[in-house]
């Protein structure tokens, strides 16, 4: 069998395993839906307090913030991979992954697929509920672009998550994930436009992948004016994906090598 098909099948088996474990908790999905409805309701009323011309045309804050929240949820899912790997280490399951032909690097990468894929699916549900219940105007014509952005964003965010997995494997700690997410949420323009920032900090929006991802998704799905030309932002996001994923893979392999040498690969 061709080797890449074996890797793909092993990755799909990992997704099936994670889905099966997720579905074994029957109330988890219902509880997430409930929390999502509360979030949508909170921001629906908050948007009524926001100055009408704060974002784009008259009264666009609600669509602005909803797309921001779903994008942040996908990033959050990616950054939890290090916690999932830690759980595997504690349960002794990571050892099985390490001693399989699939190996620790491909194994950790495939562990990112379910949480990120599920977060994307949940984003679709959230947008549908926001459209159906709160009248969020979703542009159907923008869905193809949104899918491309979601794909590139998913790869990029997964790479960031895998860098934290590398830190976890090498140093047994990936505590930075929480503040990195908070910082990206702040400088990525999730809850308010970057134009409100003082000029000296706006550069931060250009050196991380969340800003182009969320800006393109807003433009594609709810018609918010984009900050830069679409192709420039797509190029940026694609660049981040193309650079970060190989870097994350190599960093992860180096982390495994270092901890094999130190004898700490199975420690947690």
């Amino acid at each position: 069998m061709i080797v890449w098909i074996q890797y793909l099948e092993a990755a799909l088996a990992t997704v099936r395993r994670d889905a099966s474990i997720y579905l074994s908790y029957r109330l988890r999905f219902a509880s997430q839906i409930l929390a999502m409805v509360f979030t949508l309701t909170i921001f629906f009323y908050v948007s009524k307090l926001v100055r009408p011309d704060a974002v784009g045309h008259h009264g666009q804050y609600y669509q602005f913030v909803v797309v921001g929240i779903v994008t942040l949820a996908i990033l959050e899912a990616a950054l939890t991979i290090s916690q999932l790997v830690r759980l595997e280490l504690v349960a002794g399951n990571f050892e099985r992954l390490v001693i399989s032909p699939f190996g620790p690097v491909a194994g950790a990468m495939s562990m990112a697929a379910f949480p990120i894929g599920f977060a994307m699916l949940f984003a679709v549900i959230m947008l549908a509920v926001a459209a159906g219940v709160f009248g969020l105007p979703v542009h159907v014509g923008g869905i193809p672009l949104a899918l491309v952005v979601a794909g590139l964003g998913g790869v990029t965010f997964a790479a960031i998550g895998l860098l934290f997995v590398s830190a976890l494997i090498a140093y047994k700690s990936a505590m930075g994930a929480t503040w990195v997410m908070a910082a990206l949420g702040l400088i990525g323009g999730i809850y308010f436009p970057i134009s409100l920032f003082p000029g000296w900090i706006r550069w931060a929006a250009d050196v991380q992948p969340l800003t182009p991802a969320v800006d393109l998704l807003r433009h594609a799905l709810v018609g918010t004016p984009s900050m830069q030309a679409k192709w420039v932002e797509l190029l940026k996001l694609g660049g981040f994906a193309a650079v970060l994923m190989p870097v994350a893979g190599m960093t992860l392999w180096q982390a495994v090598k270092i901890s094999r040498r130190r004898g700490t690969l199975m420690e947690y």
């Binding site: 092993a10 799909l12 395993r17 349960a91 002794g92 001693i99 032909p101 004898g263 199975m266």
Partner: protein
Amino acid sequence: MSEALTLEPTETGAGRRFSNQAPDASGALVSFDDVTRYFGRGRSRRAVLRGLDLQVGAGTAVCISGGNGAGKTTLLRLATGILAPNAGRVIIDDIGTDERWRELHRRLGFLSAGDRGLYARLSVHGHLAFWAALAFLPRKERKRLVEEALVRFGLCDLAKRRADRLSLGQRQRLRLALTMLHRPKVLLLDEPRSSLDAEGLKILGSSVGEVLARGGAVLWCSPLGEEQPVSFERILLLADGKLSPA
């Protein structure tokens, strides 16, 4: 205590030899060459294995015995590549443990000590199907091999049961089934008889026998004084980082 099963002697396995070398060291499936492994740094650094040599030939089972903390698990982890030696080399079927990861692990079956390494909410069948994909078994053979493993390890009636609802002995049977599902050439077993009943020990003995019969090698680690359900070509004692005849 269950009756010990005797394995048929093989060409290389006949007779007990009080040596760390396989009868034909050049054809060894498992080879430790002058392996040293330390843990810790600075003043707290201690050598767990010191210049250890060991060869295990095809069709041969070797038992490593030793007290708690003697380094048995370290020795097995070096053979899996989970640990890298500080000095020396570990070679499995002509592959160094720091090279060709995929090919190396196709040949290896490793059972860790204890009862960990299972997903609490995944079924017995789910575990085997997952491992079949991770072990890169050909798609056409997966279903058959999973069914065979369920039968061989007495897990048919438990196929749909979640791992957290298994007894310790049933968990151990599942862990053994996972270890041997992909028909490894080299079997590394760390305290494999843990929690097994007489029937379980019999299954363990016959499974080890199957690996040896197809020309594989078995490295079995167990605490001092434990009676084993298989007979070994050599029984070695690991103490002070060195192997000696038990």
